[in-house]
Structure formats: structure tokens, C-alpha cells
Amino acid sequence: MEISVPENVALTKLDWLASWCRKNSLWPMPFATACCGIELMATGASRHDVARFGAEVFRFSPRQCDLMIVAGRVTMKMLPVLQRIWLQMPEPKWCISMGACASTGGIFDTYAVVQGIDRFVPVDMYVPGCPPRPEQLIQAIIDLQDKIQREGSFAGNEFITEARQQPKRALQEFELGQLPRSLPIVGGKA
């Protein structure tokens, strides 16, 4: 029996289609705390025009976003806010850590500055630079689109694989048991 596909009909996988839709309409949540935020604004503005990559709709409500761009240093007072905003974003969601401070703490190796947000929230893309140029951020968005297309699934199964649940290698030396117990747990769900 011959199976014929009518004209104007395309066959694809549902996972591929969902990822294709998602990657081309990322809605960024600008978590801009420092000078990287200025470059983030330049990325969204007309000269660099992130609209070419479908990610121009910056929303200041996490409920309407699926891409958190952390631009700038995050202090220990700010991190509970960041975590709360991340938890408020609907699935599926991704995170870009923009610049040296968000990724590693940068030059701010002090008591108050978190040494890389990936210790406490999941991160998909790291952008080096201090601050990175808009081209670098756009490259990260392109790479993230590529990642979404390759790994994405309709039901979001890629987020619940075992490898994703493992703490980052940098975190493994900071088991909570080693921390001074006199300190209260600040923020989070504790």
C-alpha cells in the first residue's frame, strides 16, 4: 500500500517542533544588577537588536519569562531574591550567567558576594567578559537556542535527568555540613 503525504504537510517529531517554537521566542527576564546590565540593555536596543534572534521581549515579571539573564554581581542579600524569581518563572526555563561576576564572583572575592550563581541556581550558558560585549551575549543566546533544539523535549524531560541533579563540581567542596552551624540559613525555602 502506498502512503502519500498531501501537499503542504510536513512530518516532524513533536519534541523537535516544541523546541523549535521555544528557541525562537525566548522571553528574557533581565536580572541586571551591575554594569553587565548596561550591555544587556545595548543588546536589546536597536544597534545590536536581539529581536533578530526572537528574544526581544524583556519582561520584568518572572511569570512571563522563560530565560533569566543574570547580569552583574549577586550579593548574599540578593541571592534569596534571585532564587525566588527563578522559582516563580514557569517551565520550561533557562538561565544565562552573564559576565565574570555572575559566573564566578569576579574580582569581588568578599564576604558579601556570591562566588558564582551556579552554586545555587541552575545555569545553562556562561558568558565570559567584564562586561561582555553584546555580540558575546547574542552568541550565548544562539548557543542556547542550539542547546534547546538539540536537547529539548515536548514534556521537558531534559530537565529531570540524573546528571542535571548533580551539584556542580565547584559545589562539592562546600557540603552544607562543613559550614559553621551558628549561621542561620538565609532565604531559600529553609
Binding site: 548574599m76 532564587q83 564576604y111 552554586r119 542535571r164 541533579q165 559553621p180 540559613i185 531559600g188
Partner: protein
């Protein structure tokens, strides 16, 4: 640098010669007073000498500082907005007596500046209407701008819950 000799004459007639120490350095005009006299000197400066604006209240920790005899140096910078005279008033404090009268009754603007000094150095301002932390979280333990506080902290920057993909 605006001449302060009139102000110094008034101070001398009110507080006597030996109770304060005046010096100049790089056109900064500085007055060192005893901690227990600090409030009355500032009150006199405001009400009699016309120093109507408090520019800043801050503190220096002189721990391990070469030649320093005292631990904490409180710094008040006052300005006479009519004549343009500027004066830096300093008072030294030592542990365990880290209490000094608040100047909020004189200048309302001292409120947040004294809270910041309390937050960072643990200096207690007696009579302050609302002395609690201003920059650091309320749960913070310790005073991080003291020289004996470790630069990288005591683990507070690692002390958060981790959020993984599964919880998100």
C-alpha cells in the same frame, strides 16, 4: 581653606584649652575630642557656631594601624552652609565601651548614617530612635568592616539552599 579661628576661639572659651586637639592636613581642618564630650561639642558647633549641616558620619578601625593607640575612630564632618566652613570632628572609642550618644537629635540626617556605622562596625549610638542593620540582612552576625573580620567572610556567602532543575 576657610579660616576657622573664630570657631576655635568660641570652642576654647566654652570647653577650655586642653579638652580638644586641632590640626590641619592637606587643607582638612580636624578636631579631636574626647568621646564623652563629643555630643556637647557637636551640639555647640551646631547651635552656636552655625554648623547646620552634617555631611557624614563614618568610622575607621585602627586595629594593627601603625602608631595607633585607639581602636575605633568616629568621624563627623560638619558644614556651615552660610560661611562655607567645614570641620572634621573625630572621637576615639575602645572596646568594650563602644557607645556614643547619637546626634540624631541635632541632625535628623544622622539616622541612616549612624545605622550604617552600627551595621559595619558595631558602634552603639545611645538614644538613636531606630538602631538596626541598614545594608546587611537582619540575620547577619558580626561586623564586617572591622579589621579582624575575615575578608572572605565566615561562610555566609555559601549559606544558601541549592535549587536544582527538579525543584524549578
Amino acid at each position: 581653606m576657610i579660616d576657622l579661628s573664630g570657631v576655635l576661639e568660641q570652642l576654647k572659651s566654652r570647653f577650655g584649652e586642653r579638652s580638644w586637639d586641632y590640626s590641619e592636613f592637606h587643607s582638612n581642618q580636624r578636631l579631636v575630642v574626647a568621646a564623652d564630650q563629643c555630643f556637647s561639642v557637636l551640639e555647640f558647633l551646631k547651635k552656636t557656631c552655625g554648623f547646620d549641616m552634617l555631611i557624614d558620619v563614618t568610622c575607621v578601625d585602627y586595629l594593627h594601624y601603625r602608631g595607633a593607640k585607639d581602636r575605633f575612630g568616629l568621624v563627623y564632618i560638619v558644614l556651615n552652609t552660610v560661611t562655607g566652613q567645614r570641620l572634621i570632628v573625630r572621637a576615639f572609642l575602645n572596646e568594650p565601651e563602644l557607645t556614643i550618644p547619637s546626634v540624631v537629635p541635632l541632625w535628623e540626617g544622622a539616622n541612616w548614617m549612624e545605622r550604617e556605622v552600627f551595621d559595619m562596625y558595631g558602634i552603639v549610638f545611645a538614644g538613636h530612635p531606630d538602631l538596626r542593620r541598614i545594608l546587611l540582612p537582619d540575620e547577619f552576625i558580626g561586623f564586617p568592616l572591622r579589621k579582624d573580620y575575615p575578608l572572605r567572610g565566615r561562610g555566609e556567602r555559601h549559606n544558601f539552599e541549592r535549587i536544582t532543575r527538579g525543584e524549578g
